[in-house]
Symmetry: C2
Subunit: 318 residues, 2 copies
């Protein structure tokens, strides 16, 4: 896998998307606010565009109408011929690709920040492609700006062909996950935290655009390894639950032999891996249908090279 090229020019075309999942309320209501008061997304060198990504799902407060929009930005969906009976989210992914892309083209937006909530006890989590050096610098900046509560970085390794999320349409991008928040609920504490994070993201882009130096650094990240399904009966039904000792312990190490599920029969199921694992998105409501009880990750330290310093644009004379 090769790294994404780092920006050589200021980032002018930036979007902040919310409501990609229509029942994740922080992003839904922040985008609605920004559509009324766009000044909050303005900086001297650019203005970010607020986008309600899945308005139909948002209107009925569901994750999606036909299929998960945030799994629909693959080349296959984006380049297939439109048909009259296709699912709503396939049509909507093409619209967003038209608005913010096309994906993998020089016309695509410079940066998309996609706002999410999770019912899991994930705190603040940034999800991005480890090859996106620009976004890795952004995470580092956000961690320094907002150290309490801690924010963690989940990195995915995916080629351009296999990425499927909204933010993959832009040249650079990132997902923010805040939790725990039930679906369909708007908590003031998470709303404020997300608003503050978005302001910091825009501040970082502004600093980069103005020619600030961002030297190389090392960073602790969680690398996605795969998913773990619930225990199931022969007919596919749940046979047990996330173990009470695992519930809410996102990002905490799980050793081989630790209990991870409690069967309805009363027995414990133990983790059978051969090394320490860091669980993420534990017991996320939306993942039951995806056969995911939690995601597995490993913790590692990555070295990120410096960002090239842009020559600042002269302030226009007035």
């Amino acid at each position: 896998m090769c790294s994404l090229p780092v920006p050589q020019e200021p980032l002018r075309r930036v979007a902040v998307t919310g409501g990609t999942h229509g029942n994740e309320m922080s992003g839904v209501y922040l985008v609605r606010q920004w559509l009324r008061t766009p000044v909050d997304l303005q900086r001297p060198s650019f203005s970010a565009v607020p986008v309600l990504a899945n308005p139909a799902a948002t209107a009925v407060c569901r994750r999606y109408i036909g299929r998960d929009l945030n799994r629909t930005f693959t080349s296959t969906f984006l380049t297939s011929k439109a048909t009259p009976d296709e699912l709503y989210e396939v049509t909507r992914a093409r619209e967003l690709n038209h608005l913010l892309g096309p994906k993998n083209s020089s016309q695509a937006f410079d940066f998309i920040l996609d706002l999410h909530n999770t019912t899991a006890n994930m705190g603040t989590c940034f999800i991005l492609n480890v090859t996106d050096t620009f976004a890795m610098h952004l995470c580092h900046y956000l961690q320094l700006q907002n150290s309490e509560p801690p924010s963690r970085v989940l990195v995915i390794e995916a080629s351009e062909d296999t990425t499927f999320s909204v933010d993959s349409v832009a040249k650079h991008g990132m997902t923010v996950e805040l939790g725990p928040q039930p679906q369909g609920v708007l908590r003031a504490d998470l709303f404020s935290r997300m608003r503050s994070l978005v302001a910091s993201v825009l501040d970082f882009i502004e600093l980069f655009n103005q020619g600030a130096a961002f030297p190389a650094f090392e960073m602790e990240v969680y690398k996605f390894l795969g998913c773990m399904d619930f225990p199931r009966s022969e007919d596919g039904d749940l046979a047990g639950m996330v173990h009470p000792q695992l519930q809410d312990q996102d990002f905490e190490p799980v050793q081989p032999g630790a209990p991870i599920f409690q069967l309805f029969s009363g027995e414990d199921m133990l983790y059978e891996g051969d090394s320490t694992m860091y669980p993420l998105f534990i017991n996320e409501a939306a993942y039951y249908e995806k056969n995911i009880a939690f995601m597995k990750s490993k913790k590692l330290t990555v070295s990120i090279p410096a960002l090239p310093v842009l020559t600042p644009n002269p302030t226009p004379l007035t």
Copy 2:
């Protein structure tokens, strides 16, 4: 309002309903377990029947398909003529009334326990009609059996004509609410707590059936006063959120002048009542569509008379 008559005979016909709301998972999975292993609901003098109340909504993990089933057990719905195009839950309410009622008849079940979850920080809460002396004794027993964490009692004053919930179909009944749990999530801790509570409910009925004495007592209860909507803009959209100082503070006193909402504009909205109020179901996900940000209650002490002691049935000779 007159009191419900207390039982003069052992309670033989008892039902435990779960999945009345299809995305409240503790009751859904407990009922599924009991349908496989009914022995857990057996006691010497009776066997409780497990009922999955809204199987269609449960199958798609939504609160309801057409309308809220737990608001559909009024005389109007139950006695109106069936039509081919009526909403699923109206048909299902009639089916359940046929199975467990008819409501307000001598053929109705003796007791229905209806199992619910809430996204609000309600802990363990029993909801019942204050005139149901038998159910009030049951709550008192449950509080003594399960003192940690504390369980609270929410009483509603409603006449037989205006009750609308599943448990109102039986001669006596009660709703159990456990929270916080997001919709669509099964937490092992709440699952275990609910299973233990149901066992205690059945134990209480067994004790009553066997002729145990339940003397008069006094009890602290929260009496339902009404609902408070979110602040809204002229077009009906949310204009703010539950205030961070109110979030998760269910059952804690709110004084006049205390902040209850935080507007998106940044302003606080204060409580304008003229006396101490106890908020319940704060920021419950399912109540956004009902225009309820929280319920208001007052705390008071009620005196409950003794239950008449039944003459124990002789153990049948074998």
